[in-house]
Subunit: 240 residues, 2 copies
């Protein structure tokens, strides 16, 4: 049986890349919504500015902060309790931002008389946020407060990691579908050229999000540099 | 250090679910393209029928067959050489189908004078197909013919599994973005109601693809029932 030691590849360079690509995604969505789409506002007669809050919060809070929550737990120094608290707090802020981001779309739809929750992007996004909320809640109860027995925590942990990564991937996929939907709607109304700088920026944001997702998932399977994880951590797989 | 034995959860029920959800996705895309969108044709004056080949081949070949290739290797009985050959052959057919599926869109665009490769869906999809091709080629060379040394195969295998799953997830994400783009374009032209049966069917296809992706990724981390994989296969993770 082959045994591949993930410990040979350190998570640290990938963690740095996660920060950099995450910041790139934040910068791209801000340039898109502020420079190309006119900016952000909650109360305004130009309802487009209310909508613009949605992509910004979904990427700056939901995607960027949940990415940071995953890699922080994996790579930051400090006690387990400290790391769990930061992981939980970052995910709580990410979830709150996502809920406000969804509220912005509902407000935009209501003010313009547009129907809610008809598109696949909306279905994927709502499902992701509900699963994220359940995942956060179960993680908090089992690992932080009131905290399950050691045996329970040991049993739940791999599922917490696995389901957490699936929900994270669903969030990335929802964001991709949101970019595609917004661009298709704008191009359908001739409000954005097919090869315009704005369209290319939106596509680059989509590719950057894909890269961010791949880096975060890779970081989560590589060995942690903290003493909590032993270097012999390995994933056992059948021999090739 | 907690050790979670993936061996306790058998892959077999999930494999059956993968087959069922895969068949559901195939059925949904066929009903969508044949019943709601008028059917399929390669040479026709109604170019929409050329386009319709694209979603059908991307889901029936690319997604369904690559899902089957992953779970077949994991769960089917037989020698390793036999399983590798079937895995490689299914992925080769999946890739060929995807290339013909892309050719259908290029033909559709050419006949109607529409630009190619401007959308994020196109960028994501092309990137996925190129990575899939490289992944297939490297897997064939290392594991089948001429086949690397045992040590090389052992080193490459975890990366083959990891990158393969990432490319598979990218394929699911590209398909979701394709559904969103097509529906947004049709709804922008008032060719599909927001809450019409067709729109709901398209959304159900998107959710089914998400479920299929989650089941395939889950299957790939659970223990294989074949004697090639020992029951003590485990993923080692730090204690909670």
């Amino acid at each position: 049986m082959a045994r591949w030691n993930w410990g040979r590849v350190s998570v640290l360079p990938f963690t740095i890349l996660v920060h950099l690509v995450g910041i790139l995604c934040v910068a791209l969505v801000l340039v898109w919504m502020i420079h190309f789409r006119g900016g952000l506002a909650w109360s305004t007669s130009n309802q487009i500015l209310i909508f613009n809050i949605h992509p910004v919060l979904m990427i700056v809070c939901f995607i960027f902060l949940s990415s940071e929550a995953i890699v922080h737990f994996k790579s930051a120094p400090g006690s387990k309790f400290y790391k769990k608290t930061i992981h939980s707090a970052l995910n709580a802020i990410a979830l709150t931002g996502a809920i406000v981001g969804v509220a912005a779309v509902f407000k935009f739809h209501k003010e313009l008389g547009i129907a809610n929750l008809y598109s696949l992007h909306a279905w994927l996004g709502m499902l992701t946020i509900i699963l994220f909320g359940l995942q956060w809640m179960s993680g908090f109860l089992v690992f932080l407060f009131p905290r399950g027995a050691k045996k329970t925590r040991g049993r739940v942990l791999p599922w917490h990691v696995f389901v957490g990564l699936l929900v994270y991937i669903a969030a990335i996929s929802s964001a991709e579908s949101g970019i595609v939907e917004l661009v298709a709607l704008l191009q359908g109304r001739n409000a954005m050229g097919k090869f315009s700088p704005e369209a290319r920026l939106a596509n680059c944001l989509g590719l950057s999000l894909l890269l961010l997702g791949a880096l975060v998932v890779l970081s989560s399977v590589l060995s942690s540099p903290s003493p909590a994880t032993k270097p012999e951590d390995a994933i056992a797989i059948p021999s090739p």
